[in-house]
Point group: C2
Chain length 344, copies 2
């Protein structure tokens, strides 16, 4: 499908082609920052119902393309659909985040989980991707995504967010073999899920390792990287982005993955990251999401400094984290427009 | 007083002398991990009353010396006594953390804050230090401490803990000059406070920059490092430790501070940190606090690997974060004993 896209800047940049300017999109661009999203969300029972209603997912996925002018759409969904598809349902508690009534603690708990059957358990995401692609009418590429197995593992053991994630991390010291069993089941589920997304029309996929930064480097190499590597090796039809938030210590290792793009958070210096990751990847990021609280002048200045620092090629402009919910859409537009005015 | 200490290993190591083995203590060693602490705590109204009762502070400060066998005591207190002394009181909400009923948002709010009068507003800490020193009878050194101005600033603006600290960080983009005004007032208060602690008998002081890791490197250099530098320059009678959790990107810069010791969290590789910090500092840390959930064998193995990695000299053994509240005291003892058995 790629060749018929009207704007394929993101894909060309991911593949390492010389481009006229960096493409731009934002993590969480479809969501709470847009009043148009909130209107859709309020017309439904809750967040999880929205995620499972393909027609509405397509609608909110496309909103930022129309309203913010970004160079890519990202399918509106949630990384926690994977535990649910494996048999561990969750609730989304307003202003508190996700909550799992039951968590994984024992070998028996793990044995009770199934490997997700992508079409049967997650077909609603494929349907949402097909509807979105249709409605996008090849204007921009569509990004599919999943959580990294380690991050999903953390939620399944911890039962929700945490300051220290000490419950999930305890298992790595007390029962590492159980961790690997669970991580493998999550990985198998995620591969099936991302293959389905690519088959349904996702043009590129991103793996979010949101809690990467809480692990000692040795644990990250043991419990996260090998599973991301399996996913990267298994997905062969579309380019892949790996965003391991906080894993400054793993940049060299991530540079060896079979993927095209490495995401950086806002604490990671672009030049230093380039030296660690190597020349063979495209980098994505990494404006401080709080920079969008500044004045328009300040946003332009910070955005240009960021673009300059990445050097214009092999760079996908983004924030270093998901856009914060109280960010004004006009400030986001200012960020997007500043990137679009840039010329290499 | 130093020369009469029976165990001055921590101070000799901080000063860079050759030592027989690394000294060992733990951040949050006085506190919830010890049933003996909880007994004291339960006999008082709340945490804040304990902090303000010097006799009981001395008692819980010394407990880990007796019970865990550590090479130093750290005065039991809280970094948030500084905002309180400046006129911004807080509450400690059980299992939720600190909460400020009023926060700092405007120039007027900042003008309304005073620079702490150490003796008048924080004399209870000096008294606790004097009582502790007396009761310690020169067995081990006593560590004094304060929060880094940036971390204190964050609490005063945000009003409590946060996942993103976007309220405090917003001010850095919207009103940087206000941030500097507030940071300077906090710094002046902190210098007076730490000078008082040293005068009362603290043998070494530590500055905790707990939220350092949430800032982009440029903001850390602008809003945190210069204020820590002022403190380091002002405290001349005792050695100083700076622990900037998460600030992997600032290690080179921190290495140039006028301090003796740099603390590392568990994500920071000791050899890489040594290369960045330089040869002139002692390093402190950095076992993963979750390692203490492992078996005794695993704790010994992880602790020895950590000691090996630091190389035995210019190293103060510690965790890379405060000990987690559900850690078994016997596991902490195993960590302490493993360090004490080490021979350079």
């Amino acid at each position: 499908m790629t060749h018929i896209l009207k704007n394929d800047l993101l894909l060309r940049t991911a593949r390492g082609e010389q481009v006229e300017r960096p493409p731009v999109w934002l993590m969480r661009q479809a969501g709470r920052i847009l009043p148009e999203y909130r209107a859709v969300r309020d017309s439904l029972r809750d967040f999880i119902e929205l995620v499972k209603t393909p027609q509405r997912v397509a609608e909110v996925t496309i909103q930022p393309v129309d309203i913010l002018g970004v160079d890519a759409a990202i399918i509106f969904s949630d990384i926690l659909v994977i535990p649910e598809a494996m048999g561990l349902p969750y609730e989304m508690v307003e202003k508190r985040g996700p909550f799992f009534p039951k968590t994984i603690q024992t070998a028996q708990d793990i044995a009770g989980l199934k490997i997700a059957d992508a079409e049967a358990d997650l077909g609603y995401v494929a349907e949402a991707i097909r509807l979105t692609k249709q409605a996008l009418a090849a204007r921009v590429p569509l990004i599919g995504f999943a959580g990294a197995p380690f991050t999903i593992f953390t939620y399944m053991v911890e039962g929700g967010g945490s300051k220290t994630f000490s419950k999930a991390r305890k298992m790595m010291y007390q029962a590492p073999e159980l961790c690997h069993l669970l991580l493998q089941k999550i990985t198998d589920s995620t591969i099936a899920y991302l293959q389905m997304q690519a088959g349904a029309g996702a043009d590129i996929i991103q793996i979010f390792d949101s809690w990467a930064g809480i692990l000692p480097p040795e644990h990250y190499s043991e419990f996260s990287v090998p599973y991301i590597a399996q996913i990267c090796d298994a997905i062969t039809t579309v380019p892949k982005t790996v965003f391991a938030k906080g894993a400054f210590f793993a940049r060299k290792e991530l540079g060896r993955l079979n993927c095209e793009v490495i995401g950086l958070d806002w604490t990671m210096n672009p030049q230093e990251s380039r030296a660690l990751v190597g020349e063979q990847k495209t980098l994505q990021g990494n404006l401080d999401p709080c920079a969008l609280y500044g004045s328009y002048d300040s946003i332009r200045k910070e955005t240009r400094a960021m673009l300059q620092s990445f050097g214009g090629q092999r760079h996908i402009a983004n924030l270093g984290h998901g856009v914060y919910p109280d960010t004004e859409p006009d400030k986001v537009r200012c960020f997007v427009e500043t990137v679009k005015e840039w010329r290499n």
